[in-house]
Protein backbone atom coordinates (compact mmCIF):
# COMPACT_ATOMS: atom_id res chain seq x y z
CA UNK A 1 0.00 0.00 0.00
CA UNK A 2 2.84 2.38 0.82
CA UNK A 3 5.32 1.04 -1.74
CA UNK A 4 7.18 3.70 -3.69
CA UNK A 5 10.35 4.18 -5.74
CA UNK A 6 13.55 5.21 -3.97
CA UNK A 7 13.84 8.39 -6.01
CA UNK A 8 10.37 9.50 -5.02
CA UNK A 9 11.14 8.85 -1.36
CA UNK A 10 14.35 10.81 -1.67
CA UNK A 11 12.42 13.82 -3.03
CA UNK A 12 10.05 13.68 -0.06
CA UNK A 13 12.95 13.39 2.36
CA UNK A 14 14.69 16.45 0.89
CA UNK A 15 11.47 18.50 1.05
CA UNK A 16 10.81 17.49 4.67
CA UNK A 17 14.37 18.35 5.66
CA UNK A 18 14.03 21.78 4.01
CA UNK A 19 10.75 22.39 5.88
CA UNK A 20 12.23 21.42 9.23
CA UNK A 21 15.32 23.57 8.59
CA UNK A 22 13.08 26.56 7.80
CA UNK A 23 11.00 25.91 10.92
CA UNK A 24 14.09 25.84 13.10
CA UNK A 25 15.53 28.98 11.49
CA UNK A 26 12.28 30.91 11.87
CA UNK A 27 11.44 29.88 15.43
CA UNK A 28 14.86 30.89 16.76
CA UNK A 29 14.71 34.18 18.63
CA UNK A 30 15.56 37.25 16.60
CA UNK A 31 14.95 37.89 12.91
CA UNK A 32 16.45 35.47 10.42
CA UNK A 33 17.72 36.94 7.11
CA UNK A 34 16.41 34.04 4.99
CA UNK A 35 12.83 34.01 6.27
CA UNK A 36 12.73 37.82 6.43
CA UNK A 37 13.71 37.97 2.75
CA UNK A 38 11.10 35.32 1.98
CA UNK A 39 8.38 37.25 3.80
CA UNK A 40 9.38 40.46 2.00
CA UNK A 41 9.03 38.61 -1.31
CA UNK A 42 5.63 37.27 -0.26
CA UNK A 43 4.54 40.76 0.66
CA UNK A 44 5.68 42.10 -2.70
CA UNK A 45 3.06 39.84 -4.30
CA UNK A 46 0.48 40.25 -1.56
CA UNK A 47 0.30 44.05 -1.25
CA UNK A 48 -0.83 44.80 -4.84
CA UNK A 49 -3.15 41.76 -4.84
CA UNK A 50 -4.76 42.89 -1.58
CA UNK A 51 -5.13 46.44 -2.89
CA UNK A 52 -6.75 45.05 -6.05
CA UNK A 53 -9.09 42.87 -4.00
CA UNK A 54 -10.03 45.88 -1.88
CA UNK A 55 -10.83 47.89 -4.99
CA UNK A 56 -12.76 45.07 -6.68
CA UNK A 57 -14.44 43.93 -3.48
CA UNK A 58 -16.17 47.24 -2.75
CA UNK A 59 -19.59 46.22 -4.15
CA UNK A 60 -19.29 42.75 -2.58
CA UNK A 61 -18.39 44.29 0.78
CA UNK A 62 -21.39 46.59 0.61
CA UNK A 63 -23.58 43.59 -0.22
CA UNK A 64 -22.15 41.67 2.73
CA UNK A 65 -22.63 44.64 5.00
CA UNK A 66 -26.22 44.85 3.81
CA UNK A 67 -26.77 41.13 4.52
CA UNK A 68 -25.12 41.40 7.93
CA UNK A 69 -27.35 44.26 8.96
CA UNK A 70 -30.38 42.63 7.31
CA UNK A 71 -32.08 41.07 10.34
CA UNK A 72 -31.89 44.31 12.33
CA UNK A 73 -33.38 46.35 9.57
CA UNK A 74 -36.38 44.30 8.43
CA UNK A 75 -38.71 47.28 8.68
CA UNK A 76 -36.32 49.34 6.60
CA UNK A 77 -36.45 46.81 3.75
CA UNK A 78 -39.97 48.00 2.90
CA UNK A 79 -38.75 51.56 2.57
CA UNK A 80 -35.73 50.50 0.52
CA UNK A 81 -37.84 48.43 -1.87
CA UNK A 82 -39.59 51.58 -2.96
CA UNK A 83 -36.33 52.98 -4.25
CA UNK A 84 -35.17 51.61 -7.61
CA UNK A 85 -32.33 49.07 -7.84
CA UNK A 86 -29.64 51.45 -9.03
CA UNK A 87 -30.43 53.95 -6.32
CA UNK A 88 -30.41 51.18 -3.75
CA UNK A 89 -26.92 49.88 -4.56
CA UNK A 90 -25.65 53.46 -4.67
CA UNK A 91 -27.14 54.00 -1.24
CA UNK A 92 -25.46 50.90 0.16
CA UNK A 93 -22.08 51.88 -1.20
CA UNK A 94 -22.54 55.33 0.30
CA UNK A 95 -23.47 53.82 3.65
CA UNK A 96 -20.30 51.72 3.68
CA UNK A 97 -18.19 54.80 2.94
CA UNK A 98 -20.09 56.65 5.63
CA UNK A 99 -19.35 53.84 8.09
CA UNK A 100 -15.65 54.07 7.22
CA UNK A 101 -15.71 57.84 7.63
CA UNK A 102 -17.42 57.44 11.00
CA UNK A 103 -14.80 54.90 12.10
CA UNK A 104 -12.01 57.25 11.06
CA UNK A 105 -13.68 60.07 12.98
CA UNK A 106 -13.93 57.89 16.10
CA UNK A 107 -10.27 56.99 15.69
CA UNK A 108 -9.29 60.67 15.42
CA UNK A 109 -11.40 61.44 18.48
CA UNK A 110 -9.71 58.71 20.54
CA UNK A 111 -6.20 59.68 19.43
CA UNK A 112 -6.99 63.33 20.18
CA UNK A 113 -8.20 62.52 23.69
CA UNK A 114 -5.19 60.38 24.51
CA UNK A 115 -2.57 62.46 22.72
CA UNK A 116 -1.54 59.48 20.60
CA UNK A 117 0.08 59.99 17.23
CA UNK A 118 -1.48 57.44 14.89
CA UNK A 119 -1.14 56.11 11.35
CA UNK A 120 -4.56 55.06 9.99
CA UNK A 121 -4.72 51.65 8.33
CA UNK A 122 -7.17 49.12 7.03
CA UNK A 123 -7.35 45.41 7.88
CA UNK A 124 -6.73 43.43 4.66
CA UNK A 125 -6.93 39.94 6.17
CA UNK A 126 -9.11 39.10 9.13
CA UNK A 127 -8.77 35.33 9.54
CA UNK A 128 -5.66 33.16 9.44
CA UNK A 129 -5.33 30.12 7.21
CA UNK A 130 -5.90 27.53 9.94
CA UNK A 131 -7.84 29.72 12.38
CA UNK A 132 -5.63 29.25 15.45
CA UNK A 133 -3.93 32.62 15.78
CA UNK A 134 -6.06 35.73 16.10
CA UNK A 135 -4.05 37.96 13.79
CA UNK A 136 -4.89 40.45 11.07
CA UNK A 137 -2.81 42.05 8.32
CA UNK A 138 -2.77 45.84 7.93
CA UNK A 139 -2.03 47.69 4.69
CA UNK A 140 0.71 49.85 6.25
CA UNK A 141 4.31 48.88 6.96
CA UNK A 142 7.71 50.27 7.82
CA UNK A 143 7.29 52.68 4.88
CA UNK A 144 4.62 54.48 6.93
CA UNK A 145 6.65 54.44 10.15
CA UNK A 146 5.15 51.24 11.59
CA UNK A 147 7.56 49.11 13.65
CA UNK A 148 7.09 45.93 15.65
CA UNK A 149 5.73 46.31 19.18
CA UNK A 150 3.49 49.26 18.45
CA UNK A 151 -0.02 49.54 19.88
CA UNK A 152 -2.95 49.21 17.48
CA UNK A 153 -6.25 50.89 18.37
CA UNK A 154 -9.52 51.74 16.72
CA UNK A 155 -12.21 54.25 17.64
CA UNK A 156 -13.47 52.05 20.49
CA UNK A 157 -10.26 50.94 22.16
CA UNK A 158 -7.40 48.45 22.09
CA UNK A 159 -7.05 46.12 19.08
CA UNK A 160 -3.61 44.57 19.66
CA UNK A 161 0.05 45.04 18.89
CA UNK A 162 2.24 44.82 15.79
CA UNK A 163 4.26 41.59 15.79
CA UNK A 164 5.74 41.73 12.28
CA UNK A 165 6.30 44.79 10.11
CA UNK A 166 7.24 44.47 6.45
CA UNK A 167 7.79 47.34 4.03
CA UNK A 168 4.13 47.58 2.96
CA UNK A 169 2.13 45.35 5.31
CA UNK A 170 2.23 44.49 8.98
CA UNK A 171 0.80 41.70 11.11
CA UNK A 172 -1.17 42.55 14.24
CA UNK A 173 -1.67 40.07 17.07
CA UNK A 174 -5.16 40.79 18.43
CA UNK A 175 -5.72 41.19 22.16
CA UNK A 176 -8.01 38.11 22.02
CA UNK A 177 -5.19 35.79 20.89
CA UNK A 178 -4.25 33.10 23.40
CA UNK A 179 -0.63 34.33 23.50
CA UNK A 180 -1.55 37.98 24.09
CA UNK A 181 -1.09 39.52 27.54
CA UNK A 182 -1.71 43.22 28.14
CA UNK A 183 -0.81 45.08 31.30
CA UNK A 184 -4.03 46.79 32.41
CA UNK A 185 -5.63 48.60 35.32
CA UNK A 186 -9.13 49.32 36.56
CA UNK A 187 -10.29 52.78 35.54
CA UNK A 188 -11.13 54.49 38.84
CA UNK A 189 -9.33 52.44 41.48
CA UNK A 190 -6.05 52.12 39.46
CA UNK A 191 -5.59 48.51 40.62
CA UNK A 192 -3.33 46.71 38.18
CA UNK A 193 -3.51 43.31 36.52
CA UNK A 194 -3.11 41.54 33.20
CA UNK A 195 -5.66 41.11 30.41
CA UNK A 196 -5.13 37.73 28.72
CA UNK A 197 -6.63 36.75 25.40
CA UNK A 198 -8.96 33.78 25.48
CA UNK A 199 -9.72 31.92 28.66
CA UNK A 200 -7.28 31.68 31.53
CA UNK A 201 -6.73 28.11 32.77
CA UNK A 202 -9.31 27.57 35.49
CA UNK A 203 -11.37 30.51 34.29
CA UNK A 204 -14.64 30.60 32.41
CA UNK A 205 -14.89 30.72 28.61
CA UNK A 206 -14.44 34.30 27.39
CA UNK A 207 -12.79 36.48 24.76
CA UNK A 208 -10.71 38.40 27.29
CA UNK A 209 -9.89 37.59 30.91
CA UNK A 210 -8.59 40.11 33.47
CA UNK A 211 -6.33 38.80 36.17
CA UNK A 212 -6.28 41.21 39.11
CA UNK A 213 -3.25 40.94 41.36
CA UNK A 214 -4.81 42.52 44.45
CA UNK A 215 -7.17 40.06 46.16
CA UNK A 216 -8.72 42.84 48.25
CA UNK A 217 -9.39 45.34 45.49
CA UNK A 218 -13.08 46.04 44.95
CA UNK A 219 -14.12 45.02 41.43
CA UNK A 220 -17.59 44.39 40.10
CA UNK A 221 -19.31 44.00 36.76
CA UNK A 222 -19.45 47.25 34.83
CA UNK A 223 -16.00 48.42 35.96
CA UNK A 224 -13.89 49.55 33.06
CA UNK A 225 -10.35 48.46 32.21
CA UNK A 226 -7.69 50.54 30.41
CA UNK A 227 -4.12 49.72 29.41
CA UNK A 228 -1.47 50.37 32.03
CA UNK A 229 1.21 51.34 29.53
CA UNK A 230 4.61 49.76 29.06
CA UNK A 231 8.12 51.14 29.38
CA UNK A 232 8.54 53.83 26.68
CA UNK A 233 5.15 52.95 25.22
CA UNK A 234 6.21 49.65 23.64
CA UNK A 235 4.29 47.44 23.12
CA UNK A 236 1.36 49.22 24.79
CA UNK A 237 0.72 52.92 25.33
CA UNK A 238 -1.20 53.88 28.50
CA UNK A 239 -4.87 54.80 28.80
CA UNK A 240 -6.43 52.87 25.88
CA UNK A 241 -9.85 51.38 26.78
CA UNK A 242 -9.72 47.56 26.81
CA UNK A 243 -13.21 46.58 27.93
CA UNK A 244 -15.77 46.29 30.68
CA UNK A 245 -15.89 43.72 33.47
CA UNK A 246 -18.73 41.27 32.84
CA UNK A 247 -18.43 39.14 35.97
CA UNK A 248 -15.88 38.34 38.66
CA UNK A 249 -14.92 34.79 39.54
CA UNK A 250 -14.31 33.86 43.12
CA UNK A 251 -11.83 31.00 43.26
CA UNK A 252 -10.81 30.05 46.82
CA UNK A 253 -7.08 29.63 47.29
CA UNK A 254 -6.12 31.50 44.14
CA UNK A 255 -3.39 34.15 44.25
CA UNK A 256 -5.23 36.50 41.92
CA UNK A 257 -8.81 37.31 41.02
CA UNK A 258 -10.22 36.56 37.59
CA UNK A 259 -12.78 38.66 35.78
CA UNK A 260 -14.32 38.15 32.38
CA UNK A 261 -14.07 41.19 30.15
CA UNK A 262 -16.40 42.34 27.39
CA UNK A 263 -14.01 43.87 24.84
CA UNK A 264 -14.50 47.52 23.94
CA UNK A 265 -13.70 46.66 20.31
CA UNK A 266 -15.89 44.50 18.08
CA UNK A 267 -13.17 42.11 16.85
CA UNK A 268 -15.52 40.45 14.35
CA UNK A 269 -15.91 43.69 12.40
CA UNK A 270 -12.43 45.23 12.33
CA UNK A 271 -11.96 47.64 9.46
CA UNK A 272 -10.33 51.01 10.03
CA UNK A 273 -7.68 50.91 12.76
CA UNK A 274 -4.78 53.12 13.80
CA UNK A 275 -1.20 52.20 14.68
CA UNK A 276 0.10 54.38 17.52
CA UNK A 277 3.49 55.51 16.21
CA UNK A 278 4.15 57.85 19.14
CA UNK A 279 2.69 57.61 22.61
CA UNK A 280 1.37 60.53 24.67
CA UNK A 281 3.80 62.83 26.48
CA UNK A 282 2.08 61.96 29.74
CA UNK A 283 -0.34 59.26 30.87
CA UNK A 284 -3.85 60.29 29.74
CA UNK A 285 -5.28 58.40 32.78
CA UNK A 286 -9.01 57.86 32.30
CA UNK A 287 -9.63 60.67 29.83
CA UNK A 288 -9.88 58.39 26.78
CA UNK A 289 -12.79 56.41 28.23
CA UNK A 290 -16.19 57.36 26.90
CA UNK A 291 -18.53 59.02 29.43
CA UNK A 292 -20.08 56.59 31.93
CA UNK A 293 -23.27 55.17 30.37
CA UNK A 294 -26.48 56.28 32.03
CA UNK A 295 -28.03 53.19 33.66
CA UNK A 296 -31.56 54.50 33.11
CA UNK A 297 -30.91 54.72 29.40
CA UNK A 298 -30.61 50.94 29.16
CA UNK A 299 -33.98 50.32 30.70
Amino acid sequence: MFRDSTRSRLVLLVLVVVCVALLVLDTRPGPDPLTTAGRAAGELVFAPAAAGAGWAGGPAASLYEGLRRGPEAVERVGELEEANAALESELQAARLDEARAAQLEDLLHLSGLGGYEIVPAQAVTRTTSRGYAHAVTLDVGTGSGVRTDMTVVNGDGLVGRVVEAGPRTSTVLLATDATSAVGARLAETRKIGVVNGGSVPGGAESELAFELFDMEAPVESGDRVVTLGSHEGAPFVPGVPVGTVRDVQVSPGALSRLARIDPAVDFAALDVVGVVVAGPAEDPRDSVLPPEPDPEEDQ
Binding site: M1, F2, R3, D4, S5, R7, S8, V11, L12, L15, V16, V18, C19, V20, A21, L22, L23, L25, D26, T27, T35, G38, R39, A41, G42, E43, V45, F46, A49, A50, G52, A53, G57, V124, T125, R126, T127, T128, S129, R130, G131, Y132, A133, A135, V136, T137, V163, E164, G166, T169, T171, V172, L173, D177, A178, T179, A268, A269, L270
Partner: protein
Protein backbone atom coordinates in the same frame (compact mmCIF):
# COMPACT_ATOMS: atom_id res chain seq x y z
CA UNK B 1 1.14 22.24 -20.96
CA UNK B 2 -0.29 20.21 -18.11
CA UNK B 3 2.41 21.44 -15.72
CA UNK B 4 1.98 25.07 -16.78
CA UNK B 5 -1.79 24.94 -16.31
CA UNK B 6 -1.39 23.28 -12.90
CA UNK B 7 1.22 25.79 -11.68
CA UNK B 8 -0.96 28.71 -12.79
CA UNK B 9 -4.11 27.31 -11.16
CA UNK B 10 -2.39 26.38 -7.88
CA UNK B 11 -0.87 29.90 -7.76
CA UNK B 12 -4.32 31.38 -8.33
CA UNK B 13 -5.72 29.21 -5.52
CA UNK B 14 -2.97 30.39 -3.13
CA UNK B 15 -3.54 34.05 -3.98
CA UNK B 16 -7.33 33.80 -3.73
CA UNK B 17 -6.95 32.06 -0.36
CA UNK B 18 -4.56 34.72 0.99
CA UNK B 19 -6.24 37.80 -0.46
CA UNK B 20 -9.96 36.97 -0.63
CA UNK B 21 -10.84 34.09 1.73
CA UNK B 22 -8.72 35.39 4.61
CA UNK B 23 -10.14 38.87 4.13
CA UNK B 24 -13.72 37.70 4.77
CA UNK B 25 -14.75 38.67 8.30
CA UNK B 26 -16.02 35.17 9.15
CA UNK B 27 -17.33 35.17 12.73
CA UNK B 28 -16.33 31.54 13.39
CA UNK B 29 -12.67 31.65 12.33
CA UNK B 30 -11.22 29.63 9.47
CA UNK B 31 -12.70 29.67 5.98
CA UNK B 32 -12.52 27.01 3.27
CA UNK B 33 -8.93 26.09 2.43
CA UNK B 34 -8.68 26.42 -1.34
CA UNK B 35 -4.97 25.55 -1.21
CA UNK B 36 -5.73 22.12 0.24
CA UNK B 37 -8.49 21.67 -2.37
CA UNK B 38 -6.09 22.49 -5.23
CA UNK B 39 -3.24 20.35 -3.87
CA UNK B 40 -5.68 17.44 -3.37
CA UNK B 41 -6.55 17.66 -7.07
CA UNK B 42 -2.86 17.43 -7.96
CA UNK B 43 -2.37 14.52 -5.55
CA UNK B 44 -5.25 12.64 -7.22
CA UNK B 45 -3.66 12.89 -10.65
CA UNK B 46 0.12 12.99 -10.13
CA UNK B 47 2.97 10.79 -8.94
CA UNK B 48 3.79 11.02 -5.22
CA UNK B 49 7.01 13.02 -5.69
CA UNK B 50 5.28 15.56 -7.95
CA UNK B 51 2.40 15.89 -5.50
CA UNK B 52 4.85 16.43 -2.63
CA UNK B 53 6.57 19.15 -4.66
CA UNK B 54 3.32 20.99 -5.33
CA UNK B 55 2.28 20.63 -1.70
CA UNK B 56 5.61 22.01 -0.52
CA UNK B 57 5.52 24.98 -2.92
CA UNK B 58 1.92 25.90 -2.13
CA UNK B 59 2.45 25.52 1.61
CA UNK B 60 5.63 27.60 1.54
CA UNK B 61 3.78 30.35 -0.36
CA UNK B 62 1.07 30.38 2.34
CA UNK B 63 3.79 30.55 5.02
CA UNK B 64 5.45 33.55 3.40
CA UNK B 65 2.31 35.55 2.53
CA UNK B 66 0.95 37.83 5.30
CA UNK B 67 -0.24 37.54 8.05
CA UNK B 68 3.07 36.30 9.50
CA UNK B 69 1.55 34.61 12.53
CA UNK B 70 3.22 31.19 12.29
CA UNK B 71 6.75 29.98 11.56
CA UNK B 72 7.85 29.59 7.94
CA UNK B 73 7.84 25.92 6.92
CA UNK B 74 4.99 24.73 9.15
CA UNK B 75 2.31 24.67 6.49
CA UNK B 76 4.79 23.57 3.79
CA UNK B 77 5.76 20.52 5.86
CA UNK B 78 2.14 19.53 6.48
CA UNK B 79 0.94 20.02 2.89
CA UNK B 80 3.99 18.23 1.47
CA UNK B 81 3.43 15.16 3.65
CA UNK B 82 -0.34 15.03 3.09
CA UNK B 83 -0.02 15.46 -0.69
CA UNK B 84 2.63 12.74 -0.86
CA UNK B 85 0.58 10.29 1.22
CA UNK B 86 -2.60 11.00 -0.75
CA UNK B 87 -0.83 10.46 -4.07
CA UNK B 88 0.85 7.29 -2.78
CA UNK B 89 -2.45 5.81 -1.60
CA UNK B 90 -4.07 6.77 -4.87
CA UNK B 91 -1.34 5.20 -7.05
CA UNK B 92 -1.06 2.01 -5.02
CA UNK B 93 -4.74 1.31 -4.38
CA UNK B 94 -7.16 3.20 -6.59
CA UNK B 95 -5.54 3.33 -9.99
CA UNK B 96 -5.36 -0.29 -11.14
CA UNK B 97 -9.03 -0.90 -11.68
CA UNK B 98 -9.67 2.66 -12.63
CA UNK B 99 -7.57 2.92 -15.80
CA UNK B 100 -9.68 4.82 -18.27
CA UNK B 101 -12.29 5.57 -15.63
CA UNK B 102 -12.78 9.14 -14.51
CA UNK B 103 -12.72 9.97 -10.81
CA UNK B 104 -16.29 10.68 -9.76
CA UNK B 105 -17.56 13.62 -7.73
CA UNK B 106 -18.07 11.66 -4.47
CA UNK B 107 -14.52 10.30 -4.67
CA UNK B 108 -13.10 13.78 -5.28
CA UNK B 109 -15.08 15.32 -2.41
CA UNK B 110 -14.14 12.42 -0.13
CA UNK B 111 -10.46 12.69 -0.99
CA UNK B 112 -10.47 16.48 -0.48
CA UNK B 113 -12.26 16.15 2.85
CA UNK B 114 -9.79 13.48 4.02
CA UNK B 115 -6.87 15.65 2.90
CA UNK B 116 -8.34 18.67 4.73
CA UNK B 117 -8.85 16.60 7.88
CA UNK B 118 -5.29 15.26 7.70
CA UNK B 119 -3.90 18.76 7.10
CA UNK B 120 -5.85 20.13 10.06
CA UNK B 121 -4.67 17.40 12.41
CA UNK B 122 -1.04 17.47 11.20
CA UNK B 123 -0.91 21.28 11.48
CA UNK B 124 -2.15 21.00 15.06
CA UNK B 125 0.34 18.20 15.74
CA UNK B 126 3.26 20.32 14.47
CA UNK B 127 2.01 23.18 16.65
CA UNK B 128 1.81 20.84 19.64
CA UNK B 129 5.37 19.61 19.09
CA UNK B 130 6.62 23.20 18.74
CA UNK B 131 4.82 24.23 21.94
CA UNK B 132 2.22 26.57 20.40
CA UNK B 133 -0.02 27.54 23.36
CA UNK B 134 -3.00 28.06 21.03
CA UNK B 135 -3.24 24.35 20.24
CA UNK B 136 -5.82 23.13 22.75
CA UNK B 137 -8.18 20.21 22.26
CA UNK B 138 -11.29 22.34 21.84
CA UNK B 139 -9.67 24.74 19.39
CA UNK B 140 -8.27 21.86 17.31
CA UNK B 141 -11.66 20.14 17.14
CA UNK B 142 -13.51 23.32 16.13
CA UNK B 143 -10.92 24.59 13.63
CA UNK B 144 -10.28 21.22 11.98
CA UNK B 145 -13.96 20.31 11.79
CA UNK B 146 -15.04 23.63 10.32
CA UNK B 147 -12.13 23.79 7.90
CA UNK B 148 -12.75 20.22 6.70
CA UNK B 149 -16.45 20.87 6.18
CA UNK B 150 -15.92 24.14 4.30
CA UNK B 151 -13.11 22.68 2.18
CA UNK B 152 -15.30 19.70 1.26
CA UNK B 153 -17.99 22.19 0.20
CA UNK B 154 -15.42 23.98 -1.97
CA UNK B 155 -14.21 20.70 -3.55
CA UNK B 156 -16.83 20.52 -6.36
CA UNK B 157 -15.87 23.98 -7.63
CA UNK B 158 -12.08 23.83 -7.05
CA UNK B 159 -10.84 20.23 -6.93
CA UNK B 160 -13.16 18.64 -9.49
CA UNK B 161 -12.46 21.10 -12.37
CA UNK B 162 -8.72 20.85 -11.70
CA UNK B 163 -8.83 17.01 -11.70
CA UNK B 164 -10.84 17.05 -14.95
CA UNK B 165 -8.45 19.54 -16.52
CA UNK B 166 -5.39 17.50 -15.57
CA UNK B 167 -7.08 14.30 -16.85
CA UNK B 168 -7.99 15.99 -20.12
CA UNK B 169 -4.47 17.33 -20.67
CA UNK B 170 -2.95 13.95 -19.74
CA UNK B 171 -5.05 12.05 -22.27
CA UNK B 172 -3.31 13.79 -25.15
CA UNK B 173 0.14 12.57 -24.11
CA UNK B 174 -0.93 9.22 -22.53
CA UNK B 175 0.78 10.02 -19.21
CA UNK B 176 -1.63 8.31 -16.86
CA UNK B 177 -0.73 7.70 -13.23
CA UNK B 178 1.88 4.98 -12.91
CA UNK B 179 2.79 3.45 -9.58
CA UNK B 180 5.64 1.10 -8.69
CA UNK B 181 3.16 -1.75 -9.07
CA UNK B 182 2.27 -1.30 -12.71
CA UNK B 183 -1.34 -2.12 -13.61
CA UNK B 184 -2.14 -5.48 -15.16
CA UNK B 185 -3.16 -5.51 -18.84
CA UNK B 186 -2.75 -2.51 -21.06
Amino acid sequence: MRAVATVVLVTVAVLVQAVVVQRLPLPWGPGPDLVVAAVAAVALTARPATAAGYGFAAGLAMDLLPPAEHAVGRYALVLCLVAYTAALLRTNTGAQGAVGLRTGLPAVVGATASAALAVGLCYAAVGFVMGDPRVALGAVAVNTGLSTLLTALAAPVVTLPLVRLRDALADSDFATVQGPTSPVGW
